[in-house]
């Protein structure tokens, strides 16, 4: 675990481990996220070659933060690791990782679709599961569905 931290600290000197997480999770700043990801991807000690999962989390209007958690997997070393980024709820912007892992493309699109988190420099940031003209972001904790969608009542 300390090995991971040393590698991550190379790219982001404010990174820290997060307790009570499986697999081990490190909190990084959104500014340094791409550098950290790239370092973990190319470092011969870790070689995290797969991005398995991107999870968005809304902590609700009271805390006014959102989180994005990236689950990485290193096939040659059979290691798992997660990176966590905390964003402000008002202006949730985080750089895309699709330049490092291609699987980030759709996974980030889904997170954008559900939470409205903007992934900067994403090649194709469109809604993916919801219709393109849907209003609001359904997995936010304060989400209220629209009354009518294309003249069809949404709530029964």
């Amino acid at each position: 675990m300390s090995d991971f931290l040393n590698i991550i600290l190379k790219a982001d000197d404010t990174a820290a481990a997060v307790p009570n997480c499986t697999p081990v999770t490190f909190l990084v700043t959104s500014k340094k996220l791409t550098e950290v990801a790239h370092e973990l991807h190319v470092n011969p000690q870790t070689y995290f070659d797969q991005l398995s999962c991107v999870t968005g989390i809304d902590n609700g209007p009271d805390t006014s933060t959102m989180e994005v958690i990236y689950h990485l997997y290193s096939i040659p070393f059979n290691l798992s690791l997660a990176l966590k980024v905390i964003l402000s709820r008002k202006d949730p912007v985080v750089p895309t990782l699709s330049s490092v892992w291609k699987s980030a493309d759709w996974l980030e699109r889904e997170t954008f679709d559900m939470y409205g988190i903007i992934f900067e420099r994403h090649p194709d940031l469109r809604r993916i599961l919801m219709p393109a003209d849907w209003e609001g972001f359904p997995l936010r904790k304060d989400y209220k569905e629209q009354e009518r969608y294309r003249d069809v009542q949404v709530k029964y």
Binding site: V18, N20, C21, T22, P23, T25, D49, Q50, L51, S52, C53, T55, I57, I69, H71, I75, N78, S80, A82, W101, K102, S103, D105, W106, L107, E110, M114, D124, R126, R127, I128, L129, M130, P131, A132, D133, E135, P138, L139, R148, R150, D151, V152
Partner: protein, 411 residues
Amino acid sequence: MALHKTVTQNKIQYHFESDNLELSEPNKFKAGDLRSEEMILNVGPQHPSTHGVLRLEVISDGEVIKDVVPHIGYLHRCFEKHAESLPYNQVIPFVDRMDYVASMNSEHAYAMGVERMLGITGLPKRVEYIRVLVAELNRIASHLIAIGTYGLDLGAFTPMFCAMRDREHILRMLEWTCGARLLYNYIWIGGLYYDIPVGFEDKCSEFVTYFKPKLKELEDLLINNKIFIDRTANVGVLPLDLAINCGATGPMLRGSGLRLDLRRTDAYSVYPELEFEVPIGEGKMGTVGDCWDRTWVRVREIEESLRIIQQCVTKLTGEHKRTRDFDPQALVPKKIRPSAQDFYVRAENPKGELGFFFRADGKSDIPFRCKARSCCFVNLSILPELTKGVLIADLIAIVGSLDIVLGEVDR
């Protein structure tokens, strides 16, 4: 960002207006921006060869594909939103409905994750063996669907009936365990709904004996068929580095030649006690990682699953045989309240790595966040990479070889 653009509401939904069509089904590309020889071809969402409700926006130059944009979400049933308002044990029926042809495997992954969060260890071995037994039966059923419908995509009609006939035996056996044919809710957190019925073990052995020659027959009928080989070999080649970078898992990744199976690497449940091989694509008919390899890997996996089933039956009739005082619900917790934590669990589903991310707040019986990492979703995202410059007929062959279930893509 023009996301919240107000939309003029059309009075009659099904009345054709040119702009109505465009608005209700937005495309990524506009016909006006294309070069003169290119055109947009819409495939799906209602077409048998898309394996469900998948819409493909195809930019083609004659028969040659320039780009493919998959449009999904037609079967979006808000799994993650539902999971945020239901106790952990009541989420299981929703988990069933994600990958509805391999429910046992999804349930197994989910139940395992919640058990680990709660710190439940030392489940009775009989429970573990039954879980693996039903999950492997379901894996065979899922692969049979994949192979059968793939034949159908390529114009081979008979293999579908062979596959469905044998799948029916599995479905009836699983129905016998819990009363449902597809959506079981059989594996509970901390145990099982019931013990397997009396005589189930014998039926399993009977099925293995019956199915082995039938699988050979299916293989001769479809996989080694000249027409099938011509349609699939060297088509849709997925190089290993691209497969890894794109997050491919399951038979997709193994078809490209990497021996990675989470049953082996993560060694969960009783898989370390069982003997089985992990088949990989070898490029026997063409290049490693082509459509034929992926299908061939699925056939070999059925064989390995049969081996696992035989071993489970041996254990369930020998070392961990039925006893009067065995209670499959003995460790099922009355109250499921994990301590505050983030937890990611993954397991090998027939289609790849199914993962669940949980955030428990430690104060309620309801997950604060439950995210499903769907293997079909990630595998489908590789489609545009695979289809650059292929013919339209090959596009159908490639989509079929991904083995997607739209219920899991959209969740």
